[in-house]
Symmetry: C2
């Protein structure tokens, strides 16, 4: 059964023609989660031939625009294409106001039920569970309220030695307090906005360097590390990848359109 | 002196990989106006190598998402790139609430002054004038409050026999009441969402067919007609172009990235 993540955007705030801002398509045992939804995400879904009516859950980590400015467009397209099935939306409480205001002014009444689940807890909180998958939201250390997400498979399959797991950590400063929660995760996505040369800038803006992302992966004993949310200043992200691999060799750099299969490390 | 329009999006509500939704870059005697700003507009500006800090005025015709969902991303990118110069934003009054709410939740204080000009008049209203150009907003007939825009050059140049003009009419049902206002315009952009085969659908949704767009151009004595806002159902828009040309031969179909020079018809 599929457990993989497809990168829809790997840049930070400013989009470029080769790297869109944050969005990921997670297939967790055939449950489809969209994690963040930057401007242009619906076009990325088309570009990479992902059947987007399969999305049942959209998780917005925080309300910086590069993580949600594509949400309204996607919600509207679902509507225009005649979606009937319920959609679950998770995010900071103000997201509901933002969505409702824009639906109201356009006199749009969505054809499908949109159920909003506010993220408010200061502690890790299970936000979804069914017979196969469990999702936990947990606070990250950023300039506005921000959540990471941990996805865990619940049933061990015949050909797999253990349940698979994926953690999404963006945006965040270096913060060891998340380590116990994501201990032993098979794949951790951790933002790596800057090279260590810009350590100061990373600290001031509550972002991480590639070395910091790798240190978190190392300390939590992750199977693999996926870095992304790269500053638009980097034409090539090879220096960031090199920096991370020096600390944690099993590092992959996110690249728009790429799918990473998640395997159990055990 | 340049007087031209560059198409940034020619589709209606649903974006496709070849046609983005509505946005136009108007160079009116070296004043740059962005007319509408669908999701993805900032990437279109990059794609077509338009220097987007030259934009001084953004005009939003109405609050259907396919005309403004790219606005927040563009405003944020201006900010992140260090813009200092004032930006004038024109649109229905609720647009100000939508922008401010999203800036507030992200704790963003723009580095540049953003001056909002609400469009509320039920009559044509001059919304901008300087020594070279005059802009008038006028109500269109649509399902929510919607404005068209008329741009007129004020100074006749040495090599030109008359002042040039451009009218933007989207979204709108067929409405002869705009004819006196845009009489004799050099280039009129008029939405042509549907082929006449879908006349009923056009009427119900307060959109126009290609033939109706052409009839407006004919009756107002325009120099040329530019059609756009095509329904995503049309892979080829040749049938819509043929339909319009049967009524008004001087018709052009909008195509993303194309620049149309505006000449005086006199």
């Amino acid at each position: 059964m599929n457990f993989s993540v497809t990168i829809l955007g790997s840049n930070s705030a400013i989009p470029s023609l080769s790297r869109n801002p944050s969005a990921q398509w997670l297939n967790a045992a055939e449950r489809i989660f969209l994690i963040d939804c930057a401007e242009g995400t619906q076009l990325q879904l088309r570009r990479f031939h992902l059947h987007f009516q399969r999305i049942k859950h959209i998780l917005i980590s925080h309300l910086h625009g590069d993580h949600y400015y594509g949400l309204m467009g996607l919600l509207t397209t679902f509507h225009l294409l005649g979606r009937k099935e319920i959609l679950h939306l998770y995010g900071p409480p103000e997201l509901s106001d933002i969505v409702n205001l824009q639906l109201e002014v356009s006199l749009t009444r969505l054809l499908y039920p949109l159920e909003f689940h506010p993220l408010v807890s200061a502690e890790p909180e299970m936000i979804f569970t069914d017979e196969r998958v469990e999702v936990t939201a947990f606070p990250l250390l950023h300039s506005i309220p921000t959540y990471g997400f941990l996805f865990r498979e619940k049933i061990r399959l015949r050909n797999y030695p253990a349940c698979r797991s994926y953690a999404y950590c963006s945006d965040t400063a270096y913060d060891e307090s998340i380590i116990p929660l994501i201990k032993g995760v098979d794949l951790v996505y951790h933002e790596a906005t800057f090279h260590t040369e810009l350590q100061e800038q990373a600290r001031n803006r509550l972002h991480s360097t590639a070395a910091e992302a790798a240190t978190i992966a190392l300390k939590c004993g992750a199977g693999k590390l996926l870095i992304g949310h790269f500053s638009a200043r980097y034409d090539s992200i090879q220096p960031l990848l090199d920096e991370a691999r020096a600390v944690f060799p099993e590092t992959i750099a996110a690249s728009d359109g790429e799918t990473i299969q998640i395997f159990s490390k055990h």
